[in-house]
Symmetry: D3
Subunit: 150 residues, 6 copies
Amino acid sequence: MAQLVLPHEANVHGSVLGGTVMHWIDLAAAVTANRHCRRPVVTAAIDEMSFLAPINVGQLALISARITLVDKSSMEIRVEVGSEDLLTGEQRHTSTAYVTFVAIDPVTSRPAPVPPLILEADDEKAGHARAIERRRQRLARRAESTTAGR
Amino acid sequence: MAQLVLPHEANVHGSVLGGTVMHWIDLAAAVTANRHCRRPVVTAAIDEMSFLAPINVGQLALISARITLVDKSSMEIRVEVGSEDLLTGEQRHTSTAYVTFVAIDPVTSRPAPVPPLILEADDEKAGHARAIERRRQRLARRAESTTAGR
Amino acid sequence: MAQLVLPHEANVHGSVLGGTVMHWIDLAAAVTANRHCRRPVVTAAIDEMSFLAPINVGQLALISARITLVDKSSMEIRVEVGSEDLLTGEQRHTSTAYVTFVAIDPVTSRPAPVPPLILEADDEKAGHARAIERRRQRLARRAESTTAGR
Amino acid sequence: MAQLVLPHEANVHGSVLGGTVMHWIDLAAAVTANRHCRRPVVTAAIDEMSFLAPINVGQLALISARITLVDKSSMEIRVEVGSEDLLTGEQRHTSTAYVTFVAIDPVTSRPAPVPPLILEADDEKAGHARAIERRRQRLARRAESTTAGR
Amino acid sequence: MAQLVLPHEANVHGSVLGGTVMHWIDLAAAVTANRHCRRPVVTAAIDEMSFLAPINVGQLALISARITLVDKSSMEIRVEVGSEDLLTGEQRHTSTAYVTFVAIDPVTSRPAPVPPLILEADDEKAGHARAIERRRQRLARRAESTTAGR
Amino acid sequence: MAQLVLPHEANVHGSVLGGTVMHWIDLAAAVTANRHCRRPVVTAAIDEMSFLAPINVGQLALISARITLVDKSSMEIRVEVGSEDLLTGEQRHTSTAYVTFVAIDPVTSRPAPVPPLILEADDEKAGHARAIERRRQRLARRAESTTAGR
């Protein structure tokens, strides 16, 4: 997925708004989750999303998404965003995000089961182990923030 | 900050897109950061963002943002999103997010110092302690993901 | 209600379009009318709307709305718009508008009764008296323009 | 000027938002003022704007604008909006608005003089007399609302 | 149909995007087709569309459309686009396009017959003869590209 | 390039507007032309664009673009559009377009030379021969429409 950054998406610094990049990340992750489970999906959480460098007007945003964890009805998707300067060809990595989607049964509107993730390459397996650790930490943080109030 | 959910912001389920809520959260947090430091700011990271319930077309989204941590040139903002059904008046909490912004010097485009956060109420102090812990965990996660590759 | 003015909302002078401010005023007034009557509402008329100063790109638009008159199924809402320069904190009053909404029965699509307005403070009562006078003048103007043709 | 009402411009009733119609009226009036004075213009005030009937998704909005009063640097424009059902050809009058624009000197950003209005037909002269009366009432209302507070 | 070019429609050269002009052409042609047949229509093909000169931000785009050929359920529409500089009044021709629409039966979603085109003026007849020749060439090109693969 | 079709891009039939597909085709072709010549480019013409099947809300639009002809400063790009039903995975071919872009010198704003196209595979050579024939016909049609008037 590629997006040309048009002037109307810029902030006052001439680079794309953080919120617009978040929107692209959400759409790319939704499509990836959709293709894995072939069911309607809704965004459940973002665990991490970094903005390392701006993407300027006239540059191309390159967005790639890969599924990293499946757990019952939820899927974690890693999304990488990069920029390409169309006049020089120079590419930079600008964002990494981990977004969790939940599959929904179209009739009951309740969470629906998702096919398991088949891991083949070694790096996929290592990535999966880290995804499990992220999920453990996320659940721990949520339990904590619920007991502690805000 | 309040946003009426118009039909053109809906997904195919008739509720507002996750990416649109992210966009509102980013803008509300940017304004709060701006008002604290009176300098240009850019989105640096999202640590957590949860989507607990959908906001439907015709409902009102209520967005409130508060600064929870200041560290040199970065500010962490907590954003709470709720929905209000305009026909019944019923309100629900739908999202909590922690977004980090960095203040930018308008001339050099480099990070610029930010005034410290003055904490008065006891719950502000407790919130601040939890923000410091979140920041510690975030930096740990990043260090780890850098050494481990992806 | 607050709106950060993004570049894509600007006219060629670098300030927000009159039509965009009108759109914000309409939405803020609609929400206020909705909350009063808890029914669907439609815009019926604008009596006055002034644009005293421009709101520039990168400034914050602050919009507040209050109900000033109720008559059977119609509600007059006063909307005030101001700007805040996010780098200096300076605020200015930019627009005042009086917008009339009509409550609609969702089944018959015909005008539906609206609860009366309870006035407590003295300035609310004085504001209400002026609203009644505005309404009288408006109906007179309309009667006149109908008989006179255009 | 004609606008096809697309689904993304609809409110929850399936008809176009009041604020979107206001936006079209503002643009049509701005172009008419622009063509009269061949200078940059800004919206100064709306005196009256009525919404008599909804324009539904899939219908065509027909917008026509005519200059009705010139006074030093300000121009009053009357805008008429109608709807056309594309399947039946039926047309309805839906809105009338009076919008005042001010011509701006591009260098000083201050109000700039505007060429006088040449009235030829009898109905133009009658329309002009009514425009002068509207302007007198508007200035009276403003003087009053300034002395009375709000 | 007239469109004021707002900054958010510009590309990085300060002129309106080709894709935005295409969108306006499509809407103007759809309305013209709709008015001829009073049925729902869908875009079937574009035969030619030229972009001779840019339309800049702050200029007015003037779009006119005329039906040039009817064949069973399809209609060919010629769309002319020009620009007007609002400060000087200078007009230029910027695009010509030939777009083909098909009328659709709202119940069966299949092509539906369209009333014939009545030609009166001599230039209409000459235009019609050229339209028939364009259609012949188009069908020939399609047949060829189907047999030749790509 | 992939685009999820959101409800706000739909026409009244629940499928994406022809003009929106044209906009995506223009952007995809512009990026491809940009990457070939590493210069600013502007849309010069569309020769053919077909819409064979609708793309519905909630489906994914898949857009691929390839350069087929280079001549001095102009590049012809073929764009293919397909749809994917996210719930079933079924894919369909929906549009083919040939769009011509011209490279622009950023200083003089005049056409600038473009690197030649290197053809390797046999099907690329066959495609190139057909592109030359399309260009010959296009120039013939234009010469004709200029001499014949319209």
